[in-house]
């Protein structure tokens, strides 16, 4: 019973996001609007995390399962690669390394300077 109740809440918010996105002609996809909606409801206490926890955690833990069909789509779309498989792979490698390096460097630098500021304040 509990699982159904939680699933109902999740599906309803999801549907609500789709409706809002359409009615207000937002530039954001319905599922993103739904995510923001759930975030808003959690922060305002309209929904308590216990009301969705078990079902949401099951889906979050096994999220990858839901991506299988989208991934299988590669069999009908690989020709868009036009033989550039290795180039695309190289691009992904470079981009991922750059993002990880810059994100962690900037974050660490910000935290360090913040601490220094606090020390000089005292």
């Amino acid at each position: 019973m509990k699982i159904f109740k939680q699933l109902l809440i999740i599906l309803a918010i999801s549907f609500g996001g789709e409706l809002l996105s359409r009615w207000l002609s937002l530039p954001l996809p319905g599922s993103i609007v739904g995510m923001l909606l759930l975030l808003f409801m959690l922060f305002t206490g309209i929904i308590k995390q216990e009301q969705i926890a078990e079902t949401a955690d099951f889906m979050l833990d096994h999220m990858a399962f839901f991506f299988i069909p989208a991934g299988v789509g590669v069999m009908v779309s690989y020709h868009y690669l036009e033989g550039n498989f290795l180039v695309v792979l190289g691009l992904i490698v470079i981009s991922t390394l750059v993002v990880m390096m810059l994100t962690s460097l900037i974050t660490q630098w910000m935290i360090k300077t913040k601490k220094k500021d606090e020390r000089t304040d005292q």
């Binding site: 922060f43 839901f66 991934g71 789509g73 974050t107």
Partner: protein, 231 residues
């Protein structure tokens, strides 16, 4: 063969089977790079090709699973909400770090695609490669790009990010747990977060926070690019 596979059950059955099989194999062999999703996709594609089964037959059941992407995206709000205290504590570094990450991801993909002269459809399919899969698929769809290529690029990104993080952090002397977690979550989503959790509790928490914030930031950036007529 067609009668056997041209129904909803076939696609659902084979998806559950490969995912379960992949998960068991991963547990048994204890190897991080065995990814049940990537393995599952490869097995299904192989079965369809070898069995001469049309993609459309698989997608009858596949579309049922695919329909859950919306709700899966929605519940990403939950881990974000759970880490709200951490977000408040490190507000500025986290926002600055993620913004840097998202912008460098978009810029590097767009730049490299143009340098290597890749077609525009590929560029659109790859801009969301660092983002968590359900939202990456969303971005791909809203740009009219190719879902399959997006998903595979996201998985490759995740496996790569998780495996190079320890070396990269040693090389650039990243020692702060918040910086480590943020780098992993922003660049390599849920797969990176698994690695962050191994590094420590704070690393894992920050990483799972970064998944949601980075994804939303990327959506915002891509929407701006669309509204300004870039895409």
């Amino acid at each position: 063969m067609n009668e056997l596979t041209n129904n909803h059950l076939f696609g659902i059955l084979i998806s559950v089977a490969v995912f379960y099989g992949g998960s068991v194999l991963r547990k048994k062999l204890k190897r991080d790079f065995i990814n049940p999703l990537l393995l599952g996709i490869m097995v299904i594609v192989a079965v369809l090709l070898l069995g001469d089964i049309p993609y459309e037959n698989y997608m009858k059941g596949g579309s049922v699973i695919h329909a859950f992407l919306g709700p899966v995206t929605v519940i990403l709000a939950l881990p974000l909400y759970r880490q709200r205290k951490l977000l408040m504590e490190y507000k500025l570094p986290i926002i600055a770090g993620i913004l840097t990450g998202v912008i460098s991801s978009l810029v590097s993909v767009i730049l490299l695609c143009r340098v290597f002269d890749l077609n525009n459809l590929l560029e659109r399919s790859l801009v969301g490669h660092s983002v968590t899969t359900p939202i990456g698929i969303n971005i791909s769809n809203s740009l009219g790009a190719v879902e399959g290529i997006t998903v595979v690029s996201i998985i490759i990104t995740g496996i790569l990010g998780a495996s190079v993080a320890p070396l990269l952090y040693r090389l650039f002397r990243i020692v702060h747990p918040v910086a480590k977690g943020l780098g992993l979550g922003t660049s390599s989503h849920a797969l990176g977060t698994t690695k962050a959790m191994e590094m420590g509790e704070t690393e894992g928490a920050v990483s799972s926070l970064a998944i949601g914030v980075a994804a939303l930031t990327t959506v915002a950036m891509v929407t701006i690019l669309q509204l300004t007529g870039w895409y």
